[in-house]
C-alpha cells in the first residue's frame, strides 16, 4: 500500500486493519510515535494525516492509503515549537511530547502566519485530547505561546527569611 510518510512516497505491505500506530512503529521503524492507552484517550500516538492531528492507535492502516502522514520524525530542522518545548521545559518525561507537539503544530503554524499569540483558552482546547501526567500543562502552554512569539516567563523565586 502506498502513502506519503514524512514527505516521501512510501510502500508498506501490512494488513489494512493493522493500527497505523503499529505500522509506523514496527513496519516503518519510526518509534517517535508513542502508545499510552491504545484507546484514543491520551493522544500520545498523535500524528498528522493530511495536516490534521489524529490518534494513530484508532486508525486502521488501510485508511491512510494515498494520504499524507507526518510523524514527529518528519518535523525537520527543529521547529520553533520543538525549540520552545526544550527551553520552556514543556517536556519532562517526554512520552507525551511528540503527540503534544504534533497536536499543537497546526495551531502554531496558523498563529505564526497570522502573527498572533494564541490565547490560553485556545491552546487548552486544542490540547484537550492529549494527556500529560508530568507538567500540569503549564510549561506546555508556555512552550506553545513562546513559539508564537510570547515572552518567556521565569519561575518566581523568593529568598528565604530563615536560612
Amino acid at each position: 500500500m502506498l502513502f506519503t510518510l514524512n514527505g516521501k512516497i512510501t510502500e508498506v505491505s501490512a494488513p489494512s486493519m493493522k493500527r497505523l500506530l503499529d505500522v509506523l512503529r514496527e513496519d516503518c521503524g519510526l518509534t517517535g510515535t508513542k502508545e499510552g492507552c491504545g484507546e484514543g484517550e491520551c493522544g500520545a500516538c498523535t500524528v498528522l494525516v493530511d495536516g490534521l492531528p489524529i490518534n494513530s492507535c484508532l486508525v486502521p492502516f488501510g485508511q491512510v492509503q494515498n494520504a499524507d502522514v507526518k510523524t514527529i520524525e518528519g518535523l525537520i530542522g527543529h521547529t520553533d515549537l520543538q525549540k520552545a518545548f526544550v527551553s520552556e521545559c514543556g517536556a519532562q518525561c517526554g512520552i507525551c511530547t511528540p503527540g503534544m507537539i504534533l497536536m499543537a503544530a497546526p495551531l502554531v503554524e496558523r498563529a505564526q502566519a497570522e502573527g498572533r499569540i494564541p490565547a490560553l483558552a485556545e491552546v487548552q482546547e486544542t490540547l484537550a485530547g492529549n494527556l500529560c501526567r508530568c507538567t500540569g500543562y503549564v510549561a506546555i502552554y508556555r512552550a506553545i505561546q513562546t513559539a508564537c512569539g510570547a515572552k518567556s516567563e521565569q519561575a518566581s523565586v523568593i529568598s528565604g527569611e530563615n536560612g
Binding site: 517526554g94 507538567t135 510549561a139 518566581s156
Partner: protein, 714 residues
C-alpha cells in the same frame, strides 16, 4: 578552549534554566523508551494472572497449541520464588495460593504478538473468602507508635475536644508510558535487563535472589522512562523477573510491555487511608493535645508499606507544635493488589487529614483558618512529635504569608462574602527530604565523578524520569568545578558502570546524591589544581572520585521508639485554592491554585516549578476526579476512559512560587521538592469546599460525595 574551564563567572550553572540534557532527543522523537528497543531474535512475553482475590489453584489448562511457545511457571525459577524487597512474602509466580486478583501465575512468550494474545489459558481455582476491608483485617504488616508528652494531661487542659475521621482513596500513577522490560540472555548465563524504572539496584537485587546468581551475572540498564511518580519504584522488579525467566528458558531476548489496562489493574497504587483525629484545644486555638490514628490498606503483600506508613505517621500532626501527641499507625493486609510507592509516600494521606481537621477545629472555635495556623505553625527550634528540634530553615510561616499575599487571600474572601458555592481554602504542610530515620545511613549511597579530557562524567544510579536528574546533577557538578554545564556528561543508569546511589525516590536525588557529587567535584577541583582536564589526564592518568554518604553530625534516630531526627530537614509548602461548586451537577470548578514551596535552593528554577505544577495537577486529580473502583478486590475501571486524570480542560491555572531557605547539608542549600506538591492541594480544595458550605471528609470529592454531603447537612 581549555582556559574556559576556569572561568567561574562565565559558567554560572546553578540557579539557571539551562537546557535539559536530553531535551532535543525528547522533542524530536529520538529518545528511546523501552518499547522502542528491539533485539535480534526477540520474543514477546505475557503474564497470566488470577481472576479471584483469594483461593487455591486446582489446575491450569493450556487451551492452545503450545508449539513455538515458551511457558514458565514457578518451577522454572532457579533461585528463590520471591520478589526481594522488605519482607520476603511476595512470590514472583503463584505456586498454589492466590492472595489477590491479577496475581501473576504463569508466563507465556512467543515471537508473534498476535499468537501470544490469542493463547487461552484457563485457571481452575477454589475460591476462599477474601479480606477486602482493612478495618476487618487480622494481619498487620507494621505498627508504629509515636508518643510525646502526655495526651491525657493535654486533654485535661483543653477547652474543647474536636474529633474527626477522614478518608483518602487509592490513586493510580498513570505515567503515560506503561511499565515494560526487555531481558537479554548472554551465552555465559548472565542476563541484562533494559527497562522503564526508577531504581536500577532494586531490580538488580531482586534478579540476583530470583535467579540465585552473583551480582556480576546481572546487569540492569534504565531506558528513557516515561514518568514514574513512585509507580516504577518497586513493580519493575516483578516485570524484570518475569522477562528474565522467559529469556533464560527460551534463550532469546524477551520483551514484556504492559498495555494500559494491565498496568492499571496489576501494578501498585497509592495506599488508601483512614485517619482519625482527636484534638484538645484552648479557646484561643492553641493545640494542647493531639491523638491521631492512621490505618492504611497495604494490599496482599508487604512491599514498601512499612516505610509508607512511617512517613505517613511522622507527618500526621501537620506542621504544628503541640506538647502532647500520640500517633498510632498500622498498615494492614487485604486481598487486593499490593499498594506501593506513590509521590508523597504516605504523607498526602495524613496531611490531608490534619489540614482538613484543623479547619474543622477553627470552625468549632469560631476562629479564622489562618489565625489558627499562624498560632500553631512550627518555628525554628520547635520540637516535633518524634522529638526533633527543627532547624533554622523551618519556614512554615513564610510560605503561609507568601501564599496569602500571592493569592490576595483576604480580598478574595471579602469579595466572596457570603456568596454561596464559592470558597477559598488553605493548606499548610511540611515534607521530610530524603529517606526516613536511619534510612540514608543504611543505604550508604555512592556517587562517582570521572575526569574526561573534555570535562567530567557523572556516574550515578539515580534515574532521569522526567524530573530533570541528569540536568540538575550536571549543574551542581559544573558549578562546583567552575566549568561549563556542557562540559559535564551524565552516564546512563547502567549497573555495569554506575555505583549504587540508592533509589530515585523520597525527593532525595538532588539533596543527597547532588551533595555526594558536589563533594566529588570539590575533591576533583582540588586534585587537578591549575591543570586542564587534558593536562591532568596526560600527566597523572585516569581520575575517578567516588564518595559515600556521610550523615550530618547532629542527626540521631532511634528506630525502635521512633524518637529523634526523622529527616535531615524539611521542605515547607502552602496552597491557596479558590473554587466554585455547581448546585445542579455538584461538580467543582477550581479557579486557581497558588503553590508556595520552600525547597532550599532551586538548582533549576523552571524544573522546580515544573515539579510543583505537575505535582499540583496530580493532587487536584486525587482530590476531585481520580477514583479507583474496586469490585471484589479487582480494579473495575482500569482504563483512561473511566479513570479520569486532569486534562487541559480541568487543570486550573497553577501559580508556583519558590522560597529559598537553604539547608546547610544540601548542595547549594537545596532540599527536596518532588513529592511535596502532592501533599496539600487535596486539603486546600476540601477546605475551600467547607468554606463554601460543603463538609466532605473523604477524597476524591466526586460529585456523588459532594451531593451526599450537601443533602446530609440539610
Amino acid at each position: 578552549m581549555v582556559e574556559n574551564f576556569r572561568n567561574q563567572d562565565r559558567y554560572e550553572s546553578v540557579g539557571r534554566n539551562v537546557d535539559r540534557k536530553e531535551g532535543m532527543s525528547k522533542v524530536t522523537g529520538q529518545a528511546k523508551y523501552v518499547d522502542d528497543l528491539n533485539f535480534e531474535g526477540m520474543i514477546y512475553g505475557r503474564t497470566i494472572r488470577s481472576e479471584i482475590p483469594r483461593g487455591k489453584i486446582k489446575a491450569i489448562h493450556l487451551e492452545f497449541d503450545t508449539e513455538g511457545f515458551t511457558i514458565v511457571d514457578y518451577r522454572d525459577i532457579p533461585g528463590k520464588n520471591l520478589i526481594a524487597l522488605i519482607q520476603d512474602d511476595q512470590p514472583c509466580l503463584v505456586e498454589s495460593e492466590i492472595n489477590h486478583a491479577d496475581e501473576p501465575i504463569l508466563l507465556l512468550a512467543h515471537p508473534e504478538k498476535e499468537k501470544l494474545l490469542e493463547a487461552k489459558v484457563r485457571i481452575e481455582t477454589i475460591s476462599e473468602i477474601p479480606v477486602l476491608d482493612p478495618l476487618q483485617s487480622g494481619k498487620i504488616f507494621k505498627e508504629i507508635l509515636i508518643s510525646k508528652g502526655d495526651i491525657e494531661a493535654g486533654f485535661g487542659l483543653a477547652d474543647r475536644i474536636v474529633e474527626g475521621e477522614y478518608r483518602t482513596g487509592h490513586q493510580e500513577h498513570v505515567y503515560i508510558e506503561p511499565n515494560g522490560m526487555i531481558a537479554v540472555p548472554t551465552p555465559d548465563g548472565a542476563i541484562t535487563v533494559y527497562g522503564s524504572l526508577q531504581c536500577p539496584y532494586y531490580v538488580h537485587g531482586a534478579l540476583m535472589v530470583l535467579l540465585g546468581v552473583p551480582e556480576t551475572k546481572v546487569r540492569v540498564v534504565q531506558t528513557e522512562t516515561g514518568g514514574g511518580f513512585g509507580g516504577k519504584e518497586d513493580y519493575p522488579s516483578i516485570i524484570a523477573c518475569h522477562a528474565a525467566l522467559l529469556a533464560l528458558k527460551s534463550g532469546r531476548p524477551t520483551k514484556i510491555v504492559y498495555d494500559r489496562v494491565e498496568d492499571m489493574q496489576a501494578t501498585t497504587r497509592r495506599h488508601p487511608a483512614i485517619v482519625r483525629h482527636r484534638t484538645g484545644v484552648a479557646a484561643d486555638g492553641t493545640l494542647l493535645s493531639m491523638d491521631v490514628e492512621v490505618i492504611m490498606d497495604g494490599g496482599a503483600y508487604c512491599t514498601l508499606s512499612p516505610v509508607v506508613l512511617s512517613r505517613g505517621v511522622i507527618h500526621a500532626t501537620g506542621p504544628y507544635r503541640c506538647d502532647n501527641v500520640r500517633i498510632r499507625g498500622r498498615v494492614v493486609h487485604t486481598n487486593t493488589p499490593p499498594n506501593g510507592a506513590f509521590r508523597g509516600f504516605g504523607a498526602p494521606q495524613t496531611l490531608f487529614a490534619s489540614e482538613v481537621h484543623l479547619d474543622r477545629i477553627a470552625h468549632t472555635l469560631g476562629l479564622d483558618p489562618i489565625e489558627i495556623r499562624e498560632k500553631n505553625a512550627f518555628r525554628p527550634g520547635d520540637v516535633t512529635a518524634t522529638g526533633q528540634v527543627l532547624p533554622e530553615d523551618t519556614s512554615a510561616l513564610q510560605v503561609l504569608r507568601e501564599a496569602l499575599k500571592k493569592s490576595d487571600y483576604y480580598n478574595i474572601r471579602k469579595k466572596i462574602g457570603t456568596q454561596a458555592k464559592r470558597g477559598v481554602g488553605v493548606a499548610l504542610y511540611w515534607h521530610g527530604s530524603g529517606f526516613t530515620g536511619a534510612g540514608e545511613v543504611k543505604l550508604a549511597s555512592k556517587a562517582t565523578l570521572e575526569l574526561l579530557p573534555s570535562g567530567a562524567k557523572v556516574r550515578v544510579a539515580s534515574t532521569e524520569i522526567g524530573q530533570g536528574t541528569r540536568t540538575m546533577l550536571a549543574q551542581i557538578v559544573a558549578q562546583t568545578l567552575g566549568w561549563s554545564y556542557d562540559s559535564i556528561e551524565v552516564s546512563p543508569a547502567d549497573t555495569a558502570v554506575v555505583p549504587d546511589s540508592g533509589p530515585t525516590v523520597a525527593s532525595r536525588t538532588c539533596m543527597i546524591v547532588g551533595r555526594l557529587l558536589q563533594r566529588c567535584a570539590e575533591e576533583m577541583r582540588f586534585r587537578i589544581g591549575n591543570l586542564t582536564p587534558k593536562q591532568y589526564l596526560e600527566k597523572h592518568g585516569p581520575l575517578e572520585i567516588t564518595k559515600v554518604y556521610e550523615k550530618p553530625p547532629a542527626i540521631q534516630w532511634d528506630d525502635e521508639h521512633y524518637r529523634g531526627d526523622a529527616y535531615g530537614t524539611y521542605g515547607w509548602g502552602c496552597n491557596v485554592v479558590d473554587l466554585e461548586w455547581d448546585a445542579v451537577t455538584y461538580e467543582v470548578k477550581v479557579k486557581k491554585v497558588i503553590a508556595v514551596f520552600d525547597i532550599g535552593k532551586a538548582i533549576h528554577p523552571i524544573f522546580a516549578a515544573g515539579q510543583i505544577e505537575g505535582g499540583t495537577a496530580q493532587a487536584i486529580g486525587y482530590a476531585l476526579h481520580e477514583e479507583v473502583v474496586m469490585r471484589n478486590g479487582r480494579v473495575a475501571n482500569p482504563q483512561l476512559t473511566n479513570y479520569i486524570i486532569p486534562t487541559t480542560m480541568d487543570t486550573p491555572p497553577i501559580e508556583a512560587v519558590i522560597v529559598e531557605n537553604s539547608y546547610r547539608f544540601g548542595p547549594f542549600g537545596a532540599k527536596g521538592v518532588g513529592e511535596m506538591p502532592m501533599d496539600g492541594p487535596a486539603a486546600a480544595i476540601v477546605n475551600a469546599l467547607f468554606a463554601a458550605g460543603v463538609d466532605v471528609r473523604e477524597i476524591p470529592a466526586t460529585p456523588e460525595r459532594i451531593m451526599e454531603a450537601v443533602c446530609y447537612s440539610r
